[in-house]
């Protein structure tokens, strides 16, 4: 049991609002963890703190034993953490393939190598057939998959996925779940934010629940959904799993 990522007493506030409050969790290598919680719980903020897009108000993040909070996002990426954005951010004037190539340039300068890695990433998420399309010709679910492909091209050890399956039909989501499982079997560690409980139950071996920025529960999916605190937080937010 080696912890790939360790988050210690992590907090972040925006003015008076505490978006992440004293959160602790660890991610074990090769496993899929889900980060769940109602809207505004602080999930995306957590991602930003781990990925270096935001620095914490207090607390630390350790990756492979090294402290990485206050490291810039490009260096965090080069260390092996790739993330997707909940609000997709395709490079608009570049094709789907070119978008997927960018991440590869974090480890190679060869355009040829980047291209073949990009095809491989697109292949994994089922976008290879649209490699030459423009990004604005993609549907929103496809754009989310492009985000995933872009991140995969960086050859990450840890992948942070922020609601990449939103808007997918159940059969499509099942396909993505299989992809994630294959990736995890290949040694990739995944932390994913996901609202659909059925997917969380199926894919995650560990679940971390946030509510108003604080961790209110953690454990295997079955235990977590049975936890009254978790039910309360969701029902209180008008959410039905």
């Amino acid at each position: 049991m080696t912890a790939l990522l360790e988050v210690k007493n992590l907090s972040r506030s925006f003015g008076g609002l505490v978006a992440v409050k004293d959160v602790n969790f660890t991610l074990e290598a090769g496993r899929i963890t889900a980060l769940i919680g109602p809207n505004g719980a602080g999930k995306t903020t957590c991602f930003n703190l781990v990925a270096g897009s935001l620095s914490p108000t207090s607390g630390q993040v350790f990756f492979e034993g090294r402290q990485i909070n206050n490291t810039s996002p490009e260096i965090v990426c080069r260390m092996g953490i790739a993330r997707t954005f909940q609000i997709v951010r395709p490079m608009r004037d570049m094709s789907v393939l070119e978008n997927a190539m960018v991440g590869a340039f974090s480890w190679t300068k060869s355009v040829k190598e980047a291209k073949s890695k990009a095809y491989e990433s697109l292949e994994r998420v089922g976008l290879a057939g649209k490699a030459n399309a423009r990004t604005d010709q993609l549907t929103l679910p496809d754009r989310k998959m492009l985000e995933t492909a872009k991140a995969l091209s960086t050859r990450p050890k840890l992948l942070l996925l922020d609601e990449v399956m939103a808007g997918l039909r159940p059969t499509e989501a099942a396909g993505v779940v299989r992809v994630l499982q294959t990736l995890a079997e290949g040694g990739l560690t995944i932390l994913l934010v996901e609202h659909v409980m059925r997917i969380v139950m199926e894919v995650a071996s560990n679940v971390v629940v946030l509510h108003h920025g604080a961790k209110i529960a953690e454990g295997n999916p079955a235990a977590v959904v049975a936890d009254p605190k978790v039910l309360d937080s969701y029902l209180g937010a008008g959410f039905h799993a």
Binding site: E74, M94, S106, W107
Partner: protein, 333 residues
């Protein structure tokens, strides 16, 4: 491959122009080609790197003065002046970028900083006796003899120097844009935070693209000084020149390889024509007014520039069903 072929054909035509055209056309086309190259340097920085400069005259001027001071004062070959100018301008550009981005001055504020720097340099050079201050620097009149090692010769010689420079600029932009730098720079241009999340070290890449652009602008400036035969701070480092540099790519097509050539080929002769008409009709400033109107029309009706519009038209003729798929870079290939 089609693009290289098209480029080669344009090059052949321009070579013929240089061999047979009359002196007026030669001198006009020399300026067009020089501004193609200068526009290309500016285009690399904004169109590919996403960094706006409205003070490119700073780098042009540094190049011109490096050549001018070394040659006029010490008789040192302009080749060395060009080299030195590129190093100076590249370093100044890098320093400016470093300072600016280090303190989170970016986007339009960085652009304002480039004007401020250019104006500062212009005023400094205007009062600096060593570089001729307001009286400027004058190159000795050309003997008409071609001295390649001293980069000296007549109008036709400089036409071919300008042509070589423009061709180098176009080929260089094309090569950079196909290398990993092109991908990384375009990613940074489209979305800097997203590029950083994919491991692009945007801080150093912004400095690099600005430095390369500045060095190229200095090379163009060095030749421009030689062609004009004199260097004055107000013209070579003035705001007017900064604007002249960016008109080619803006009119021709931002971020495209051939845009600056097409744009300069359109805008500069038009400017000359209108200034001639204005002179004969005694309407001073007619050229500036027309220039303004044409710029507005192009930006209004062809916001991406003339060149992409031509490419699209060509595609429409070849494959009518594909017109709705006009992707800028894909279309160019």
């Amino acid at each position: 491959m089609k693009r290289w072929l098209a480029g080669a054909m344009v090059f052949v035509v321009l070579t013929l122009v240089g061999s047979f055209a009359d002196p007026y056309l030669i001198s006009l086309m020399t300026i067009v080609l020089l501004f193609t190259f200068l526009g290309q340097s500016w285009n690399l920085m904004l169109g590919i790197g996403g960094q706006l400069s409205i003070g490119h005259a700073l780098f042009v001027g540094l190049g011109a003065y490096s050549v001018g001071v070394l040659y006029v004062k010490y008789g040192i070959s302009p080749w060395i002046g060009l080299f030195l100018g590129m190093i100076i301008a590249g370093s100044v550009g890098a320093a400016l970028a470093w300072l600016s981005f280090r303190f989170e001055v970016r986007g339009i504020y960085f652009a304002l900083l480039t004007i401020a720097a250019a104006e500062f340099a212009r005023i400094m050079f205007s009062g600096w006796e060593f570089v001729g201050a307001m009286q400027g620097l004058f190159f000795p009149a050309p003997t008409g003899e071609i001295e390649f090692l001293m980069l000296r010769g007549g109008a036709r010689f400089y036409y071919f120097v300008a042509l070589a420079l423009a061709a180098l600029g176009i080929a260089g932009t094309e090569l950079i844009s196909r290398s990993y730098l092109g991908y990384v720079w375009r990613a940074m241009r489209d979305d800097e935070p997203a590029a950083r999340a994919l491991g692009v070290r945007t801080f150093r890449h912004k400095i690099l693209v600005i430095s390369v652009s500045a060095a190229a602008a200095a090379a163009g400036g060095g030749v421009l000084g030689l062609v004009q035969g004199s260097i004055f701070p107000d013209s070579i480092m003035g705001m007017g020149l900064s604007v002249d540099v960016l008109i080619g790519p803006v009119v021709g097509g931002l971020g495209t390889t051939f845009g600056p050539l097409i744009g300069s080929l359109t805008a500069i002769p038009l400017n000359h024509l209108m200034s001639a008409i204005g002179d004969s009709l005694r309407i001073p400033g007619l050229n500036n007014i027309t220039y303004g109107i044409v710029l507005i029309l192009v930006v209004w009706f062809l916001p991406v520039g003339i060149w992409p519009a031509i490419v699209r038209l060509g595609e429409a003729i070849q494959a009518p069903s594909k017109v709705w798929l006009p992707h800028l870079r894909k279309a160019e290939e």
